[in-house]
Every structure is written in structure tokens, then in C-alpha cells.
Symmetry: C3
Subunit: 475 residues, 3 copies
């Protein structure tokens, strides 16, 4: 068993594989068969501009800390101010950046047992060749080594895209976005990768929020459709979805407080829409209208064929003061329980067997895996169980995911494949690698218990990495 001095970075080649020697041998063989396959990333948050403009990353902190709420939130919980990490700061100088990196390294112990430790240490070792573990007294050396590296051409975004073996990556974009960076990439004959936009209309579906009317005005402008009526809103949405599809989009993504999608009768929908446009809709009516909006999105999906992905039931900006000081997406979002069976019944009864319609269901509430998601995906040809997401995108939960959904209805074939869902470009290889290691271990257990032959396991491992994301996202 490995012991290390505090300063050596430990990234064991068999990390995350089963400890039992017989299973580890099987898992290693399965893992070896898939570890070098290309990365398919059909849902994430990397900005297209990085790849379009291909400018060097600025510094270790703005690359690895400031924008990554996975990293920041646990430092915050340990008493570090988000301001000291650069979050929400208009000016954040070199010494502040170096100090933020020191804060991370000095608090490295806080990440023990978390996936951030795995990702970050894999990045340090595999991308930057760093051999020291983060700590108060290695912080500066690591910072300098990363800073030196990212100034070199082989660490620019396009070079890394190639080095990482990425085959396809999706960004996440506002319906009013002009997708200029996607256009630039397509027009660039020197660019060989594939970057697709994703249609993310959440804010346009929340009519009781303060920003809604302005957004819907803007939607009218970019689509050239008058959004004064509900019919206009629908036409404008269809217009923008078509625009996204022309630019390579394969999916639309949706994250609201619940998963409900329910058709109102037309007159009631128009009445609520008009009320919303007048800024007079109540929060309850706003929810009602949003559920009709969602039903419309599903109907559009059955027509234009964009895969619909749901990421519901997160309480956004839980700590009001942090939101006011630092803005959204700073680590203060907290999951809630979710319900799919009743919520999705109207949508699935309408479109669940439609040949064009595909729905990928993500959850942070693990209780729905065996109870709702696997049973739904095991009946409806349109439904896929999404990979573990956000807080549960970590080894123990990933193991629970396979064990919860497979036998209870989804098997292997009704799953989405891995989704990294990240803004942290450099963590993408480590995230996919974690998933491949854990699936190899899971399949090795099935082989070890004679529930699967080795041939079946090797085939399944390949399907998890290649076949399933292609099938679920129509790639």
C-alpha cells in the first residue's frame, strides 16, 4: 500500500480501480481497452471563444480557481473569502492571484475524498508534469511551473483540445447569442475539431422574474418575430432553435425548479402570457406558464429533433448576500428533491414514442434512479438516464448510479454516456478518465460475480464511451 511523504504528488496508475487483486486485474484490462478512446463531450460550459480565438490562458488562478465553483465553494466553507479567490472582482492583480493559489494549496487537505482532488491532481501531474502535492510551501513553485507552461504554444486551447483527444464538444449558449465563435470555427479551415452550441433558454421560460420581459423583447429582435403574443414567443423560439441547429446544435438544455411540462389550453396560455408581458404575473402563475413553455419546447423538439436534456431542481443562489456580492454560479446553488414520474407524464404521453423526440434526464437527487428514471428509460424509446451530474459526479455516486439504474430497468443501453458539464477545460480529460476507470471497475465486478462474460464487459465499456453518447445525443 502506498505511503508518500507530504510533498510527493500521488497519481497511481490504478487509482479508482477495485482494491481486490482479482477484480483489479479484470478492471485494468477493461480500462486499458477504453482509456485512449476519443473524448465525446455533448454537454459542458467551455466558452467557444477560447477555441475560436485560441489565445493563451492568462495565469494559473484565473484558469484553475476563480471561475471554478467546485474549487471555490469548499474553500469558502473553510473560511476563505470568495473575494480573495478573485470571484466577482473587477480588478485582481498578480499578487492577489498568486495569493489565491496559495490559499488553495494551503487548504489542500479540505479536498481529501472529493473528486476535485482527483481532477486537480491529475491535471497537475498529467498536463503540467508537476510532482509535488499542493501545500503551503509548494504553492509558489507549482504556480510558477503552471504559469511557465501556459505561456507555451502547446498549452493554447486548440493544442490542448487535440492533445486531450477531444472528438466533439458542446458549449452552452443563450438563445439570443449570435454564435459568432462557432461560425468562426466552422469557417476556419485550419481547425479540425468539432464544437457545437447548445440551446439553453431557461431565462426565457421564467415569466415571473424581473429580467423576463427584457429578454423576450431581445428574443423578438434577434429572431425578427414580434414576441408580443404567445404565438410570437413560440415562433421566435422555433426560429432560434433552427438557427442553433444550423450552427450544429444537437440539444437544448433546461434547468428549472421542477421537471413539469404541461399543456394549458390556448386561451389560458395567451391570458397568462399577456399578464406576464404586462409584468403582472404572480410567481404561481409564472410556474404554470413555464410548464406550458416547457411543453412547447418538447413539441418543438419532436419536430426539429434537438435532443432535450433536463437538469432540474436546484435552489439557485441560496445565500442571498453572496449572490448580491459575487453574482450567480459562485458555489451557492443547493440541490432539492425532484419528481419525474408525475411531472413528465403529460410530456411523455404526448411525445414519448415520437421517433424524433429524445429526452435525457439528469438528477442530483439519487432517489429517482431506481424509482423513476430507470423505469421510464426502460419503457420509453425516447428517454435516456443521464450520467451523474454536479455534486454527484464523483466516484462513490458514480458507482451508485450504475448499481441503481442498470438492473432496475435501464440496462446499459438506456444511458447517456458520460457528461463532463464543466467550465474547467483542463479538467475534461481527468473527468472522462474518472468515469472510464469507475465503469471498468463496475464491469469487473459483474465479471467477477459471473453476471457478465469478459467479452460482454469489454463491449459494454466501449459502448459507454462511444455508442451511448452518440445514440443519446444523435451524434
Amino acid at each position: 500500500m502506498p505511503t508518500t511523504t507530504q510533498d510527493a504528488l500521488s497519481v497511481h496508475p490504478d487509482r479508482l480501480l477495485p482494491a481486490e487483486p482479482g477484480l483489479r486485474k479484470v478492471a485494468r484490462e477493461i480500462y486499458d481497452s477504453v482509456k485512449d478512446l476519443p473524448i465525446i463531450s455533448p454537454h459542458g460550459h467551455v466558452p467557444a471563444q477560447w477555441l475560436a480565438d485560441d489565445v493563451p490562458f492568462e495565469d494559473p488562478t484565473s484558469l484553475l480557481i476563480t471561475p471554478d465553483h467546485y474549487v471555490n465553494r469548499l474553500l469558502h466553507a473553510n473560511g476563505v473569502s470568495l473575494a480573495d479567490l478573485g470571484v466577482g472582482q473587477k480588478e485582481f492583480g498578480d499578487e492577489q492571484k498568486r495569493n489565491a493559489f496559495r490559499l488553495l494549496c494551503a487548504n489542500w487537505k479540505a479536498y481529501r475524498g472529493t473528486p476535485v482532488k482527483f481532477w486537480f491532481e491529475s491535471e497537475l501531474a498529467d498536463i503540467f508534469g508537476i510532482t509535488q502535492a499542493p501545500s503551503a510551501h509548494t504553492a509558489d513553485a507549482i504556480y510558477d511551473q503552471i504559469a511557465e507552461a501556459i505561456a507555451r504554444p502547446e498549452f493554447r486551447p486548440r493544442a490542448l483540445y487535440k492533445q486531450f483527444g477531444i472528438e466533439f464538444i458542446a458549449t452552452t449558449d443563450d438563445p439570443a447569442d449570435d454564435l459568432r465563435f462557432h461560425e468562426k470555427l466552422v469557417a476556419d479551415s485550419t481547425w479540425e475539431g468539432k464544437v457545437a452550441p447548445t440551446f439553453r433558454p431557461d431565462k426565457y421560460l421564467e415569466p415571473a422574474t424581473a429580467a423576463w420581459n427584457g429578454l423576450v423583447d431581445r428574443l423578438g429582435e434577434v429572431s425578427g418575430v414580434d414576441t408580443g403574443t404567445y404565438a410570437g414567443w413560440v415562433a421566435a423560439m422555433e426560429n432560434r432553435r433552427a438557427f442553433f441547429k444550423e450552427h450544429g446544435a444537437v440539444s437544448s438544455d433546461h434547468s428549472h425548479r421542477d421537471a413539469r411540462a404541461e399543456k394549458l389550453d390556448d386561451a389560458e396560455a395567451e391570458r397568462l402570457y399577456a399578464k406576464a408581458r404586462n409584468g403582472e404575473i404572480t410567481p404561481e402563475e409564472g410556474d404554470t406558464l413555464r410548464r406550458d413553455f416547457m411543453f412547447q419546447q418538447a413539441r418543438m423538439a419532436s419536430e426539429d429533433g434537438l435532443v432535450m436534456t433536463l437538469h432540474p431542481a436546484v435552489y439557485r443562489n441560496h445565500h442571498t448576500e453572496s449572490f448580491e456580492k459575487y453574482g450567480a454560479d459562485v458555489g451557492g446553488d443547493i440541490p432539492m428533491s425532484v419528481e419525474f414520474t408525475r411531472a413528465l407524464q403529460p410530456m411523455l404521453s404526448a411525445f414519448g414514442t415520437h421517433p424524433n423526440f429524445q429526452l435525457v434526464l439528469f438528477t442530483i437527487d439519487e432517489t429517482v434512479y431506481s424509482r423513476e428514471l430507470a423505469p421510464l428509460a426502460g419503457f420509453y424509446p425516447s428517454v435516456y438516464v443521464g450520467a451523474p451530474w454536479w455534486f454527484i459526479d464523483e466516484p462513490d455516486a458514480i458507482r451508485r448510479y450504475r448499481r441503481a439504474i442498470t438492473g432496475s430497468g435501464a440496462g446499459f443501453g438506456r444511458t447517456s454516456g458520460f457528461i463532463d458539464d464543466t467550465r474547467a477545460f483542463l479538467s475534461i480529460p481527468a473527468r472522462h478518465d474518472m468515469s472510464r476507470r469507475l465503469d471498468a471497475g463496475y464491469l469487473a465486478e459483474l465479471v467477477g460475480e459471473n453476471r457478465l462474460t469478459m467479452d460482454e464487459a469489454l463491449d459494454a465499456a466501449h459502448d459507454f464511451v462511444v455508442t451511448q453518447p452518440r445514440k443519446a445525443f444523435k451524434l
Copy 2:
């Protein structure tokens, strides 16, 4: 570790036992001590007529595919039409049957990791002696081999009942059923088995459904009691329960959207009943009256001693179009979250310590195991935690079941024993075998961690198969 060519059927003698060599040895010893014990099946859906008339099964497809929604639903999810599997088809010819079997075999990969694979492959190997794995090019050969077998006398239902080592089996029956096939079996001196009816009055307890008034009229006819008043409904129910008990029933089974049972005051109950008989009850009032009906059933159980089993919280016929085309029980039922603690408080406060009353609680919502079911069964002498059911009757969930309920309150002695709950007669041995293998593995782990001695484990394994079903179902 086993590898096989695609065509050989792999049914390893140690399948589902722990992979770790030391634990496997212990598990094998425990499993060997129980594997040949008789099968007790106190809840299931095999038609009594099969055993009463003992006619040969018709063909492989109508035996193994068409009526088994476990098999059909995953094919449907993979794009196969239910019609092509014979579901809901009045006419379904020989070539269609053979083709349905081909569809199953060609899609066999879809079942990897699911219990259907284990059951089906065990049936093929252990009952039919088949040595090839299902695939597109083995489908016809397997079909022919099964067809040839079921034409032989040793594959008729009574012969299989004996060969399977079944000691007791319960059917599931409508309160208005005349139980003629049960009578025929009892009257047949050549029949040595035991087949008991189960009282399943669900439809008579849902007063807001369209069918209810007709059913309650019929209930009045068969019982000879006027069901025009609530008192009449109660008397008719008592009459039919007594009739079932005379015919060997040991339990009544109940499946509604929630687990609530709450006494109304008599006048309110009569008022709602009258409204329902006039076809004027609202859905909400229907739920209220149904909860009072359930309370009455519990009261009757405390008097006549029929064990009450609850299987709540399933959204029936989720996909409306499939229901309209193919009917109920075609794979379109989806579980929902369930609540027992508050729901059962009135019933358990009234009858929970009554010496005649026994209640077995089944769930597909695993969250209630450690939170509600084990604590309830660990206090009330009447309450037993039912075995994993339906979607969670599979290896990983069965393991979670023991780990969730044992230490949190139920121990080993407050559990129901295994329930196969199946229409698929030929899968019964494989289903009980799966349970015995998994319990052996679970107990081996407790021995391996020195939480139990081997003597205690062997005794517990025997209890799980023999003592607990007898105790929970008063056999």
C-alpha cells in the same frame, strides 16, 4: 475469469456470489445449505387454471414473451413495437410468434446487467438444457428446442410445479372470482401441491373510477348482499373475504397510489359512499373514501386474520396511447415516491398490536427502507418488511435491501422472505435462486467481517427461505 464466445450460454455455478475468493467460499457453503429447499411463493400471479387444467404450454413466445412485461418493456424501449411481440393481439400466428422470439434474441444485448438476463438464461439452461446464448442467429434453434420440449409431458404445469420443488404458491384473484380452479385442485386427489387464492380488491376501493359502480353491483350479486349502502359494501367484502379464506387464502393484497388508511366518521363515509354510488364523487373525495375503505380492510384483517400486503405508489398506464392500444400491464407502469410513517399511523395505532393483524409492506421507493419500514417493523409486532419488488427485484437492489433494513431496525426476523410476484411461471425457480444466492453473499460478508458466526449465518439463511415466509404469511 470467464470469457466465452458469443454463442455459448454462460450460467456459472457461482454466479451472483461474491467475487473475493474468501467470501465466495463462505457464500458457497451457505448457498449450498439452502439451494435445494422447497419454494414457498406466497405472492404471485400465476393463473390457477394452468395447474388445475394442466394443459401444455402453447409455444415459446406466448409462454416467455407476450405476457411478461419485464421482457417486453425493454424491447419497447429499444424500438420494438409491442404489437410485434403479440401484446394485445387477438390473432398472432406462428410466423409472428417465431418473429417475436427473433426480436428478443436479436436484442439480447439490451438485457445485460438486468435480472431478466439472469432469469431467462437460467431458464434456458436449467429447464430447457439450452447451451447457446440468445442472438439473431441462434433464435430459431432455441425456439425450436423450447417448442419441442413444452410438447412433452414433463413440461406440463403440474410436472414443472413438482420439478421446481414448489411447496406453496398463491395466485392473485378478484373478489368476485368463483375460485373454481382452486376448488378443482382441492377436489383432485391426484394433485399434491398447494395453491391458495389471494384477495385483491383494489378496483372495488377506487370509487371515483368509471368501472366502480358496475364492480360494486357485481360484488353485491356474488356475495348476496345489497351494496347500496356502505354497510352493505362492508358486509359484502366480509362475505367475500370469508369465501376466499375458506378456499385457502392467507392474505389480501392492496395496491393504490398511496398507503393511507384513515377512518372517516360513519355519517361522512355513508355520504361519500352514496355520492359514489350516484356516480358523483370527485377524485379527491374518491381518495378520501378509498382511505376509509382501506381502514375497513385492516379492521376486517384483524378479525378474519388474512395477512394484509401493501404494494403502493405506482403510476399505472403512464403512456396513455399504449394503454389504449394494448391495455394494462404492458410495461407502462412507473413507480412514484411513497410515504408510510404518517400514512399508516391511524391503521397501526388501531390494529398494530392486534394479535390477529399482520401487515407486509412492499415498496419500490428504496428511501423508506431505513427511514420508515425497518423502524416500523422493529416496533410493531404486526409489521414485516416485504422483499424487494418489481423494478428492484434485482441483484444490486436486493443487496441494498438487506443492508438498509437490517441494522436500522428490522434485523433478520421482521422480513417477509422472498416473493416472486410473477406471471412467468418458468422464471420462479430462477427468481428464488437469485434471492438465495444474494442472501448467501450478504451473510458471507457479515461472517467475513465477524459480525456473525458461521452457525448464525447458516441458521439465518434457512430462516430467510423457510421461517420468514411462514411467519409473515401465517403458513
Copy 3:
């Protein structure tokens, strides 16, 4: 693998450590490094009087059975009357006591797989040196051996406190308590231990209960503050919290049906308070006012610095007849589902980053671990995830706890450390020992999977026992 005759008591030195030989070796090394560390017990129910007066325990039954609802409830479920165990009996003679002990031993099999078996057998072996397993024919001999032991000076409470290696223990006390036994201990120069009271005001926060007005009158008397107004109630509470703090309290403990804490506007709070004081408040209004009371407690905690612990969502006295016959805390409490994300938002938005405020969240509903508690504790510097509690304070659930909270947000550092929460003084060493064994096994798995170095694991094991309880409870 161990096999024993029925009569020998099996307490294997490696019990609860992983079965796999490689992991066991690592786990054993980790366990050895922490097994003899002092016990810190920041939440429990041992009466301070036992240590203050240091009188010998009376007899085995009143020490080990009658007051311990963990023990009693499973006997009750197996058909033993609570009365026969001495529960709620004013008179319970020597022969009855001996008979109660016989009932326990004769039913010992019922505890297989439960933590009671582990605790009780460890107590028998490690404290009393008993070598026979409990059974009908060993009951009297064991009874006599315990009775003989507890008559000796080395078995008096203070001697055991020292022998157990307890460093700190908290009791649980009514706000109106005069804490005389705590004072006596502080004043006693021969006493070297540390016993702190805990402020437990539940009953004073439930204004719709029959007892409330009398309790609030009494609160006014002991605090010398007129509790006729809400402001008076607040001042009286602040007065008693200060009194507790002066007597060494480090925390207040709260257990209500839900976790909500929400500020009312002052006039509404006064209106409801006045209504409650007049005995006219409805149950719904009582809940509303209670949530405002809880918000006040949090506000006070942010000022006086007492750590707030929540133990919500238990249905108390589920079986009405048992409650009426035997009183509260006799095993008839059943957990319910709980919600924290929305419930705590107002409280955490107000005090979640306050430097004085600390909140430890306990749950029996395991679904909130990865979904709500770890995400909350991974953002708010005030929030700690409490150790598994009550029904889930058992090996399998303790393992699930670490696996559910660590990677999903809490890491190791946002956890409370072990809490024994027990009235059963003699079970305290076994309870802490169980936790240390299981954490050693958990950490060994992380080492075995190369997710942690051995140095990190040893450090973490020490933190779990020493650092985390000190940090979470400000010791």
C-alpha cells in the same frame, strides 16, 4: 472463517473491519492508531446525576434493558410486552427484573445483524468479561455476573467514566433545569472529568401543545422574566441560554417535525404569541410560530455562540396506546422524510456566514446526504454534516454516510465527528469503537483504491476522532 458453538460469545478483534485480506491489514493499522484515543461525546442523554452522585447501578435490567428503547423495541416487535421489560412500571421487583433479562437473552437471535448485538456483546465481553453468548440457558449466569460486578467500586459511574477514557460528555437538559448536578461536579475537586449541559428547548417552541402555556409560565419563573409577551419569551430564552453557557454548555439541540426556521414580521409574531398564550392557537399557526421561534434561536446562537444542532423529522409516539400506557421514548418514534435546502434558506441566508454561528445537521432520512447536507456544508462555513443518528447509527448506514457526503461536497472536514446520542452509559465505548472501526475500513478502501495515501488516511482517522468534534462543537 470463525464458527463458534452457540454458547461462546464471539467478539473478534477485527470485527467490522473489511473482509478482504489486503484492506483488512490497512484498516487494522488505521484502527490501531485511533482505538485508544479519548472519547469526546458532545451529544448524549446520560443523566448528570449519575456522575455527580456516583451511586452504584442498581441491577442489570434497570441498567441495560428498561431505559434503552433500542433494546426494548425489537423485543416488543417479537411479541414481548413492554411491561415485562419494566417500561413504565412503578414497581418492578427482583424476580421481574431477572425475568426481563431472560426474555432478552431468549430472544437474542432477534438482534442478529443489528448494532444492538455489537454494542451489547462488546459490553458483555469488554466491560464484564463475560464469555458466553446470551441465550435462554445462559441468562441467569450472565445476570448474576453483571449484578456481582456493578456492586463493586470499579463499576460505579465515575470509575467507568475514567476507565472508558471519556474526555468530555454532554448531557441534554430542559431550559428550566437548575443544573444542580453540573454545579456539583464543577464544585467537586475530586472530579477530573468534564460534563457539559445541552440546552434543549423543544417543548417551549411548540405553542399548539397542551403543555406549552404551563412550560412558558415556568420559563418566566426560572428566568425572572415576564413571558406574557413574545419579547418576554425571547428575553427569558436568552437568559436561560446564558445560564446554560455559564454552566459549560456548548450547544443547543432541537428536534421538531421539520427543519424550518422563518422570521415572521414582529406584529404577526406577537399576535400569534398572544393567541398561543390564550390557548387559542391552531396547529397550523403553532407550526408558523414555532418556525419563528427557531429563527430566534438561530439569531441567539449567532450572538451567544452556542452551536445549534438539529435532529428533525421524527413522528413521536406513533402508537397511541403504547404512549398512553408507557409514556414517551419507549421505542414508538418513527422517522419521516425531511427537507433542508428550502427549510434552512432563511436561516442560512441570515446567519450562514456569521462568524459565531455553527449548525450541525442530523438526519435519519439518508436521501439528504448527497442531495442537501453535503452541498450545504460544502458552501456555508457554519454548517457541519452530523454523524448518522438513531436508527442509522449502524455499520451499513455509517458506511453509506461517508460514501454519500464526502465526494458530494463535505469532504472530511465538514463533518461533526461521532455522536453517541445515548442514554445507555455502558454502551458508549462500544458505540465510539464501532465508529472508529468503520471509519478505518472506509479509509482503508480509499487507500486500497489509491484515492488517498496512507499518511492522509492516518491523519484523517485522527481528525475524525479528535479534530472534527472539537471544531464542530467548539470544544
